[in-house]
């Protein structure tokens, strides 16, 4: 990836992390862990990949994005705000009464949200429907859905995957954020969805395994996915839950907890330092 673009995306990812932490801190609740692990994926989608226009959020020909792991919307909201769908001040009102930003994505209330999600597994099916509609109408838009690895324990994911494979939805790309942790602990211990690559291959997917924090690898995978014909794509992105905030990294407890005042200060200090470093480069 070109250095200039990479710098831009790294800055975006850092700002997304800051926005997510800010929102969860103000709300005194929410899901930081999986928002931070997916920050590079959000950044790449909104600032490189998706053909979307914040001034025309409902444009029928746009690419679609479904956050199937809806609980990590603090990350999505930060990306949407950064992209210009709504003012960044909305992030501070996350989860408050009357706020535009609901605890889980609400397509009716938030510009840029293509599907209401939060019940795990359901977003994948909706993404299949969007991809199928694109095929029926001969449109060239693409549909991306972001899932968690814990989410793969939900049976509907595999109903939907079978459907996507069977209907040869090559305009559909599932991105799995494999951070290895869910609420009750390590995914390998709780539900054990591994081997994930073999499962998706068996369901008729083109599968790639990448480092989900490396923009070089993300770019290569997304570019390859667009060339795949006759089958849907799955990009298995290995990540670190809570990435970017030292004390949150790889700690299951930070799945759905808000930082205290002190913890917030530390997180923001660390992220600001990262940002300053990137901007100085």
């Amino acid at each position: 990836m070109k250095t200039e673009l990479k710098r831009k995306l790294e800055i975006a990812a850092c700002k997304i992390r800051m926005g997510a932490v800010e929102g969860v801190y103000r709300a005194k609740s929410g899901h930081p862990g999986g928002s931070l692990s997916a920050a590079e994926l959000f950044a790449y989608l909104y600032f490189k990949e998706l053909r979307v226009d914040p001034n025309h959020p409902k444009e029928p020909g746009r690419d679609r994005f479904v956050l199937s792991k809806g609980h990590t919307c603090p990350g999505l909201y930060a990306a949407l705000a950064l992209k210009g769908y709504f003012p960044e001040t909305e992030l501070k009102k996350l989860r408050q009464i009357g706020a535009m930003l609901q605890g889980h994505p609400d397509m009716k209330g938030t510009p840029g949200v293509d599907m209401s999600t939060g019940s795990l597994g359901q977003g994948v099916s909706a993404a299949c429907g969007m991809a199928l509609a694109g095929k029926m109408d001969g449109k060239d838009y693409r549909v991306y859905a972001l899932l968690g690895d814990g989410e793969l324990e939900e049976g509907q994911v595999w109903e939907a995957s079978m459907f996507a494979g069977h209907h040869e939805l090559d305009n559909l790309c599932l991105v799995i954020d494999i951070n290895g942790l869910q609420i009750d602990g390590p995914t390998a211990e709780v539900g054990g969805p591994e081997p994930v690559d073999e499962k998706f291959r068996a369901f008729g997917f083109d599968v790639q395994v990448i480092d989900g924090h490396s923009f070089d690898e993300i770019e290569k995978a997304f570019e390859h996915a667009k060339t795949v014909k006759g089958k849907p794509s799955a990009i298995l992105a290995k990540t670190i839950k809570g990435r970017g905030v030292s004390y949150m990294e790889n700690v299951a407890g930070w799945h759905g907890k808000a930082p205290s005042d002190e913890e917030y200060e530390i997180a923001m200090r660390e992220l600001k330092q990262t940002l300053a470093g990137l901007e100085a480069e």
Binding site: P60, R64, D106, M107, K108, D114, M115, S116, G118, S119, G121, Q122, G123, V124, S125, A126, A127, C128, G129, M130, A131, L132, A133, G134, M136, D137, G155, Q156, E159, A160, M162, F163, H166, H167
Partner: protein, 314 residues
């Protein structure tokens, strides 16, 4: 005049869909490996490219329908009532109703008249489930003509709709020529001043027979067909309550959460009126021929007439 024909409402549904297909190119029909039984196969034959077999995966089917609706399609997601509303309840709630998407959920084989398949397939809870969802319109048509009209109304209505259909053939009694269907408006099939029988779906034809039996006994019963259970026709129900006093509701559903409770809610809020609910009394069904089951559970003309007579004596 309506020619007397016997047809299951699921069959009328399949026919109506395939007729509307041309006028509404946005219609897409989804099924979960039951196209022969649900009669969506009729649409499939005519429009194979707009028919999606989702396989035996009802939860996914509802989500796919939701996704299609976000892209401007009018999906009819069809399965047996039990699986469409029970198994996939949460998908209907979160992926269809919460975002208020234009998906039509269609449950065929509702009630105990599914017959021999038994309790696992006899859905007696679907009205309760679907009516509890914000923004969901619930329609339970009574015969061929009403079903055809209801399918059109569902297409023309913007938002989620649940259409409840039956396996058993039923006589058509609504007038084919001048039948007007309006969402949310009940139909007074017979005027009367002693008592009002309010029925829905398959039970309307049984209630019609019951009214004739009562007439022979000198009881002048009014008959109201509530084809739209939500939003319910409050005005018509309150008028009947005011004019005839006692009311009887008849439905092929658990007495908990269905038509009877919907009517009772209207009455208790505005005009408390004695009400007797005829339905399945909070129990599971079992295997048997449909007609025999309906009789055994009291969902037949003679029992409706009997209960009404008793009720009037009180």
């Amino acid at each position: 005049m309506a020619e007397m024909m016997k047809k299951a409402t699921r069959e009328s549904y399949g026919m109506a869909l395939s007729q509307l297909g041309e006028e509404f190119p946005q219609i897409v029909v989804l099924d979960a490996d039951l196209a022969e039984a649900t009669k969506t196969g009729i649409f499939k034959k005519k429009y194979p490219k707009r028919f999606v077999d989702c396989g035996i995966a009802e939860g996914n089917m509802m989500g796919v329908a939701a996704g299609l609706a976000t892209c401007g399609k009018i999906p009819f997601a069809t399965s047996f009532a039990m699986f469409a509303t029970g198994r996939a309840f949460e998908q209907v709630r979160n992926s269809i109703c919460y975002p208020h998407l234009n998906v039509k959920v269609v449950g065929t084989h509702a009630g105990i008249s599914v017959g021999e398949d038994g309790a696992t397939h006899q859905c007696l809870e679907d009205i309760a489930l679907m009516r509890s969802l914000p923004g969901m319109t619930v329609i339970s048509p009574s015969d061929h003509y009403e079903t055809v009209a209801a399918v059109r109304a569902a297409v023309e209505h913007e938002g989620p709709v649940y259409l409840r259909l039956s396996r058993l053939a039923v006589e058509s009694f609504n007038n084919s020529d001048d039948y007007r269907f309006e969402l949310g408006r009940g139909v007074t099939l017979r005027d009367g001043k002693d008592v009002t029988i309010i029925a829905t779906g398959l039970m309307v034809s049984r209630a019609l027979e019951a009214v004739k039996l009562l007439e022979q006994k000198g009881i002048d019963a009014r008959l109201v067909n509530i084809h739209t259970i939500k939003p319910i026709d409050r005005e018509l129900i309150l008028k009947a309550a005011g004019e005839t006093g006692k009311l009887i509701t008849v439905e092929e559903h658990n007495v908990i959460g269905g038509l009877g409770d919907a009517v009772a809610a209207v009455l208790s809020e505005e005009l408390p009126t004695p009400l007797r609910k005829i339905g399945v009394n909070d129990q599971f069904g079992h295997s048997g021929p449909a007609a025999a089951l309906l009789e055994q559970f009291g969902l037949c003309a003679s029992n409706i007439a009997e209960v009404t007579e008793e009720f009037l004596k009180k």
